[in-house]
Each structure stands twice: as C-alpha cells, then as structure tokens.
Symmetry: C2
Subunit: 202 residues, 2 copies
C-alpha cells in the first residue's frame, strides 16, 4: 500500500496527520505538483481528476479524495476513533468535519487558487471571488473562536478528523495572509494544542 | 424527530430521497428561504450557519449538513445500504459521493449563487466566478458520461448516495441552463433510471 503525497498541498497533510494519529506508517510517493506530475497519464490512471492524495492498495485499487482515504483507515484500524464512536457521534463528527471543509478549508483554498501566483496560467483565476472567500473565511474563524470557547476540540471533548481539517486549512491560510486574529483566544489556544500533538508534524 | 426542509433547495431533496430509499417517513417542517426564515434567531439556534436541511431529534439535538444527516440514518437504519457495504466499499462510495459534491453539485450551486437573481442583494455575487463554475460543471458532466459508460450507477453496480448527490445537483442545474448534452447517452440513460425510482419524487 502506498500514498501519493505532496509536502506542499494541504489535503495530503490531512491524511498524513490522520495516519500518524492512528499510529500507521505507510510508504509515501512524492508527486511534484509544480512540475505537474499529477497531470501525467500515469497519475491520471490512478485518479482521473489529478488530485493528491491517492491511496494505492496492494492489488492496484486506487482511492482518491482525502476523507475517503481517511474513512478506509477508520474502518480498517478503528483505534483511536477519529470519526466518532457511535451512530449519533459519527453523524456529529461528520457535521463538524463538513463545516470545517466548506466554511474554513474550502474558502481558504479558494483564496489561494484565485489570487496566488502559483495558479497563474494554470487555472482561470477570478481574484474578486478570492476576496469574497477571504472575507468568508475570516468571518468563520471568528465564529470558530466562539465555538471553541465551549469545548476543547471542534466536535467536542475528543480530537477528531474535524480538528485535522481545520488545522490544515488554517495553516494553509498563512500563504495568503489569513491568520488567527489576536483577539481570537479560544482559537489560538486550540491551535497551539493541536499543533503541539506529534501528528501535526507528519 | 423532524426534518427542517425546503422544497426549493437541492440539499434537502438529497435527504428526502435518502429517506425514501430507506423506507423512512419523518415529520417535515418547511422553512421559507425566500422569506429568510432560515436567518431567524429560532432557526439559527438549530443551525448557526443557517443552512437547510436540519434534523432535530426528539431530545432537541440538532444535526446539520446533508451527509451528516444521511450518515445518522445509514447508521440507525442500515438497510438498504446507501453508503457502502464493507470497509473498501464505504471508502469507494465516499470517494464517488465527494467527487459528485465537489465536481458536480458544488460548481452547479456556485453558478446559481453567483449569477441568479434570487441571491442578488443577499450575498456578494461574482458572475465571472459563476461562469468559471459553469464551464467546470459542463466539463465534469462530459467526464461523468464516460464513467457511466462502464457501469449502471456512479459508484458501481449499486444505487448509492453518490447517485442522489449527482441527481440533485444535475436537476438543480436546470435553473441556470446547465443540462445533460444530447450526445451524453450514458448520462442520459442513468438520469432516466434514477429519476424513475419512486424516491426521486420525494
């Protein structure tokens, strides 16, 4: 089994942290996004959409999409649980992970895609959309600060995939100047705690 | 238990179809989005982000996010399975559902949000971004037509949540003129099949 990986992109980091929290080590194959290796015919045969990460199983089966890969490991290595512990909790963690994806990670990624030089000439950029997403992301960080005033982790008392998604999204925001506000004490406390886990460096 | 619902929005339809496929009937409470009922303090207490659908359990617990609600029902009423039948299959269905969300449903929704009069004055619209999303959605429908040349349903031999996501996304595209191309025979065959299931009218 191997993971097609990139040190630069935020999605592969989500899987690496997830694996580290599970205590799993698997072979990683770096994909050079700057050289568009993810657009090569060999890579597109593994994932026709060209995204990383991709998990290749020993029989050649390829799984794309970050959370699909995480789900595979949650199913095959349940401990420690990172996606909930019973029916309602699994639904709650799904809700919070999706909120972190759609309200934090995605707008921050859209700012990068639509305003950063890396994507100039690679994709059609709409800077005005990047600015709408920047405002949306900053508003959501303020909301997240309130949420984290009520509990230690995003989905409750326990570290979950929702914390991983938020951490990777927020850290990726640095590239485009999106940061935790100096008045966002709860968010800063949470960020320090999750960044201090050994998995954060994976 | 009750579902806060809207007949106009595509996300609540995903949950209604999911429930119909499971053979579940639950109380539905209509939320008038045109009158911004989803922005009322009462509704924001159920979902601070203001989105529909929301599932309210009998103890008052509220679950937001379409797929989180579906997961709750998949866990509590496993038959028929709509999110996979074993570890690898659940990961594959997750992959395909996410591809349908991020590559089909989301760009189609972005075309609506950024170009349609409904959202004028409600949110900051960036029509140029809507046009980028329109091209992306049309390109993905062509890809989906190829995918459906190889199998009856999006994730394989079985109807799953990925079909529901794609159906609700594609049907929502009609409002902004996004349609299955006359040359997309596989996609048209699939669309006729899934639209013909009793659940599609839910």
């Amino acid at each position: 089994m191997k993971l097609y990986d990139s040190a630069l992109a935020p999605n592969p980091r989500r899987v690496r942290i997830f694996l580290a929290e599970k205590g799993l080590e698997i072979e990683k194959v770096p994909v050079d996004l700057a050289k568009a290796e993810n657009r090569s015919p060999e890579f597109l045969a593994k994932n026709p959409l060209g995204g990383v990460p991709v998990l290749e199983l020993d029989d050649g089966t390829c799984l794309a999409e970050t959370v699909a890969i995480c789900r595979y490991f949650e199913e095959t290595r349940p401990d420690p649980p990172l996606m909930g512990v019973d029916a309602l909790d699994r639904a709650r963690v799904e809700m919070w992970n999706r909120r972190m994806e759609f309200e934090v990670f995605l707008p921050i990624a859209q700012v990068f895609r639509n305003t950063h030089d890396f994507f100039k000439g690679r994709i059609p950029q709409v800077p005005a959309w990047g600015e709408v997403c920047r405002e949306a992301a900053e508003k959501r960080l303020a909301w997240l600060d309130e949420v984290l005033g009520e509990r230690p982790f995003i989905a409750g008392e326990r570290f979950t995939i929702a914390d991983i998604t938020a951490l990777c999204g927020i850290d990726f925001g640095r590239v485009t100047g999106i940061r935790i506000g100096s008045d966002q004490k709860n968010l800063a406390r949470w960020h320090e705690a999750v960044s201090g886990r050994p998995s954060a460096g994976a």
